[in-house]
Each structure stands twice: as C-alpha cells, then as structure tokens.
C-alpha cells in the first residue's frame, strides 16, 4: 500500500481547504473529548482512592466551614483497633460551592505532613516550612495557576501565607492544595477555631476493615459531644463532589457526541471525495486496481484525515491540560485536570477507530461502483 502514498497525499492536498477544515473540525472534537476525559479521569482518581484512609467529618455537615470536631478526638480514635495514624486537619477554602478557582488550605501538624503524604519539594525546603508558623507549601497546580513563587506572600480571605515550598505528588489532585500549620489556620483572625478541626484523617493498617472501623468511630461519638460521620476517603470525596458528578457524567456524553460528530464530518468529507472521483476510481479500476485496493485507498484517506485531527486535537488537549493546571472543585475537594498517557492513547486510538468507521461506507461505495457507469460520467 505504501506505494500509493504519493497518490493519497496529493489527493488530500489537492483539496487542502476541505482537508484542513475536516482535520480542524476533528481536532476540535478530539480536544473536547480529551478534555472531558481528563475531568472524568480526575474524578475517578478521587472517588476510587483506596479504602485504607478514612475521613471523619461532623455528621450532617457538608461544607468544611461548618464542620467542627474536637481536635482531641484523635487521641480516642488512635486507640481503636486497625488504626495506624490519625491526623487532625483544619480545612479552609475560599469557595465552598462548585467553582473553577478553588483554593483549599489544609492545616496539618507540620511534622506530620511528610508522614502522611508522598510530597516531593521541587522548590523550597521542609525545614523552612516547619520553622515558620505562617508558611505553607503549595501544590504545583496551585502555584502555576496563581503564579506563586518561593517567598511569595499570598492571602485568601483572612489567611495570609508565605510560600516555603512547592511540591508535586503522585496523586495529581493533591497538587491543588496548600498545606499550612494546623495551629496557624486555627488562629485565623475572626474565627474561633482553637481546639477544633474540620476533620480527622485516619490511616488504617493494611489488614483493617475500613467499614467496620468507620462504624466503630461513629458509634463512639454518637452520644456526643459532636456526632461524626466517617467514610472512606473515596466515598467522602465522591459525596463532596456529588453535584459535579452528574455534570461531569453529562459532559462525558458530550465528549462522545463530539466523537460521533467527528465521525459524520469525516464520513461526509470522504463521501464527497468519492463522489468527486467516481470517474477517477473507474479509471483506476480499468488500469487493474481491484475493488479492495480502491476500498483501501478511500479508507486510508479517511484514516489520514481523522488521525491527523486526532494528533492535533489530542496534542493540543494534552498541552493545555499540562500547561494550565486547571481544576474544578466543590466543598474543598478539587478535581485536577491533568494529561495522561492513557488519555492520549485513547484519543489517538479513538481517532483511528473514527477514521475506519467514517471511511467504511464511502470505501464500500467506491469499491463496488460500476466501472462502465463511472467511465461514462462527464
């Protein structure tokens, strides 16, 4: 088939206006597909997080600003069977509702951050963070989005923090958080939070049964002073994002719709190309081109267009995702939009599949067209 490459390429180039338009349309479709795919992937990452971490929240509260648990609950929980570590966390967010620009502060005992997270500092130092009460380490995504550098002072509401470090993490969504000292966040002016935290994060032993431990914790505090609601981190995050989940699922369908649209666009273009060249295909068949070669040529045309669009669209989506550090969040849980190899492969393989699907009908039509009728065309 490679022998026919000049013919294929020159044919596409001859109608370059049409070819470029179709490639661009396909690229846009695939860009959208990859983008919503990234959001879906981000959501899946959050909701499928392993069962070895529990989040203890105040019962019947949803926004972190309204959940207040006694900080010393950690002492009681620590003694329960199956519990490896308990971390009291004060959460502060600029926006409890669904938003594209959510900044979330996690106030955590400074010495525990490294114990419970696998952060790697790309700038700054741990000692700098630990020795300065008003310092914070910020995730790479936030830093990129808000243009934060080492030493930058920034404030959200009453909270003013100096950047002591910038970290990345194997867990993409973590890079959307700012970690600060717990007592610093508790002493935020205008809030009387000393002695209370938003939630406790409970790390379990490998052998522990998460649901059973969660039940034990909630039973323990049912009588007060503050009732708790304990869920695995995945379930907790899923319920925080509940409002967004449906929207994201819907947008996922829009992604598929884009791919469907792309299929029809390419199919239309290929059909037009076939109709333009009924006579040419008859001439080729007269020269001895078999129906299967004509079929393959038309299919190859369709695949070249769609994979061309696929490469451009997927590439642009990956670059945008990598460069913008976009995220969407609600109730202090953020979904990071990030590129992934899997997503890029899905986009490319998808565009190949679209090329085949879009090309089959026009290719069959071209291959089975009557030679004599074709030659008799003006």
């Amino acid at each position: 088939m490679y022998k026919f490459t000049p013919y294929l390429v020159k044919t596409l180039w001859r109608h370059r206006g049409r070819t470029m338009l179709t490639v661009s349309g396909s690229a846009v479709a695939l860009f959208v597909f990859c983008f919503v795919g990234a959001v879906q992937e981000g959501l899946d990452r959050l909701t499928s997080q392993n069962d070895s971490t529990l989040i203890v929240f105040q019962a019947n509260k949803f926004c972190p600003a309204t959940s207040h648990l006694p900080q010393d609950y950690d002492q009681i929980i620590r003694k329960m069977p199956g519990v490896r570590e308990v971390v009291p966390i004060q959460v502060f967010t600029n926006n409890c509702r669904a938003s594209l620009d959510v900044v979330v502060f996690y106030g955590v005992p400074a010495k525990k951050v490294q114990k419970i997270r696998d952060f790697e500092l790309v700038a700054g130092s741990w000692s700098e963070f630990k020795s300065n009460q008003d310092s914070g380490i910020v995730g790479e995504s936030v830093a990129r989005r808000r243009n934060l550098k080492l030493g930058t002072k920034f404030s959200v509401g009453e909270v003013k923090v100096t950047v002591a470090g910038i970290f990345n993490s194997t867990d993409q969504s973590e890079e959307d958080y700012v970690y600060t000292h717990l007592d610093f966040l508790q002493r935020t002016p205008g809030m009387n939070l000393v002695g209370t935290v938003t939630q406790h994060e409970v790390l379990l032993e490998d052998s522990a049964d998460a649901v059973r431990v969660a039940g034990l914790i909630d039973d323990e505090f049912r009588a007060g002073p503050v009732e708790t609601d304990t869920r695995t981190k995945g379930v907790f995050q899923a319920s925080s994002l509940a409002d967004l989940v449906e929207l994201i699922e819907l947008s996922h369908y829009l992604g598929y719709a884009c791919v469907g649209l792309m299929t029809m666009l390419i199919s239309t273009t290929t059909f037009m190309a076939v109709q333009d060249r009924i006579k040419e295909h008859s001439v080729l068949q007269t020269l001895g081109f078999s129906g299967s070669i004509v079929f393959a040529l038309v299919l190859a045309e369709s695949i070249l267009i769609s994979v061309g669009g696929g490469v451009v669209g997927t590439g642009a989506a990956m670059l945008t995702l990598a460069g913008s550090g976009l995220s969407v969040g609600a109730e202090a849980v953020t979904i990071a939009f990030s590129p992934s190899v899997g997503l890029a492969l899905t986009g490319l393989v998808g565009s190949l599949a679209v090329g085949i699907a879009a090309g089959v009908l026009p290719a069959v039509a071209a291959a089975r067209a009557d030679i004599i009728n074709g030659l008799r065309q003006a």
């Binding site: 000049p6 040419e280 001439v283 007269t286 020269l287």
Partner: protein, 240 residues
C-alpha cells in the same frame, strides 16, 4: 489465436426497454494485429471493447484472451488480469490530475511485482516511446491535449500488455495532433508488435489498421475482405 470471442451477447436494461447492442458476436484476433472498429454511434463499439478489456461482462458468450477465459472469472481476479494483460487508451486521456506524467505512467506498474528500479526503467521506455521524457515531471494541466493523450498511451503500454484497446483515441484532438497519435499507434504495432484494437469514427484513422471491422446493427463486418464476408451472424441477418 490471441483473442477468441464466441457468440457474445450483451444487453442493457433502460427502464422497461432492453437494448442489445451486441448479439451473438464472434471474432478472432491474432497476436500482433492492428484492428480498427468503425460503425454508427450507439451500435456497441465501446461495449465490445469493454468486454475485451475485461471491465464489463457479457450476458452470453465467451472471450478467451491468451488462453484465459475472462468472462467467468471473479471481479477481483479480473482486475489482476487487467493489470497484467490490458492497456486501455481512453478518448479523453483520463490522467489522474494530481499525479505527474511520470507518476501516471507508473500507476499500473504499482500493481505488478516490480521493484522501484524496474518501474523506473519501464516508465522511461514508455515515455521515450511517446517522446515525452522531457515532460515526465509535468502535471496533466501543464500538458497540451495531444501530450496528455500520449501520456495516456504510455500508461497503456508500460506494462507491456497482451492487448491494447483504444476507444476513439483521436476523438478529442485536432487533425494534426490526431495524425501524430495515429502514427504513434501504428509504430507501436509495427515496432513493438503490440496487439491493438481501436474504435474510431474516422475512416482515415481506421485505414491505418491492418484489419478494419465495422459494427452495424449487431453485425460485425470485416471490410478488409472486400467481399464483406459475414464473420458474425445475428438475427439481424434477415434485415440485410
């Protein structure tokens, strides 16, 4: 005998009407012959040519070319057979507009098991035969009508086919250019021994062929034999 046509019948359905341009036609053509075919418009000259070229199939009868019975083989095998055995010269050159003269001539060779060097050699020979080596890299739109037709001829002979058919090859050309093309066809026949079957409306053109046939009302008449012997008998015989 290179081509043996026996009792060929071809009809077309046009709405309720059935047109039968070829009725029980038989014809033998020897290797190396140059045969011209004349006749009024719509009598089935192109139809006969297309049956021989293997791009259309008859309703009845057989065509054997170089021992291969082409009327019964499958569509895909027929395509392969065409690639190796037939050269087709069209009335309008029918060159592929996006390809250069060289690439147009090379096209049929891509279907045969030749490597690049061998293809290059054959294209070179074909372009030399039509005296267009210096136009190899030109696109059809950069060529004159006569040059385009010569590229079309080069494309038809490049695979060194058993038979070359030409359907009114000078139909679209002025008389000077026509003469040039006819001269070229004659040389192909005499110098290279190419078996040629040419449909034409022009008696002068037909005259250059060694053997002149006329298709009239379903009958094939051999004008070369002055006695107008009936090679083919058809129901039409009664009309004479």
């Amino acid at each position: 005998m290179l081509i043996e046509i026996r009792n060929l019948t071809k009809s077309f359905q046009k709405g309720d009407e059935t047109i039968t341009p070829l009725r029980d036609v038989s014809l033998d053509i020897d290797a190396g012959e140059f045969v011209s075919l004349m006749g009024p418009s719509g009598t089935g000259k192109s139809t006969l040519l297309n049956q021989i070229a293997g791009i259309d199939k008859p309703n009845f009868g057989t065509i054997t070319v170089n021992g291969t019975e082409i009327t019964t083989i499958s569509r895909s095998r027929l395509a392969k057979w065409r690639a190796a055995n037939v050269g087709y010269i069209f009335q309008t050159h029918n060159l592929i507009p996006v390809l250069t003269a060289y690439e147009n001539v090379e096209l049929p060779l891509l279907l045969l098991p030749f490597n690049r060097a061998e293809r290059r050699r054959r294209v070179q020979i074909a372009l030399e035969a039509v005296e267009l080596v210096d136009r190899a890299s030109h696109y059809p739109r950069q060529l004159s009508g006569g040059q385009e037709q010569r590229v079309g001829i080069a494309r038809a002979i490049v695979t060194d086919p058993k038979v070359v058919v030409a359907d009114e090859p000078t139909g679209d050309l002025d008389s000077a250019t026509s003469a040039h093309i006819l001269d070229l066809l004659q040389r192909l026949n005499s110098d290279l021994g190419t078996t040629l079957l040419m449909v034409t409306h022009d008696a002068e053109a037909a005259a250059i062929a060694g053997r002149q046939l006329r298709l009239d009302d379903g009958r094939l008449i051999d004008d070369t034999q002055q006695k107008q012997s009936l090679i083919t008998t058809a129901e039409g015989t009664a009309n004479v």
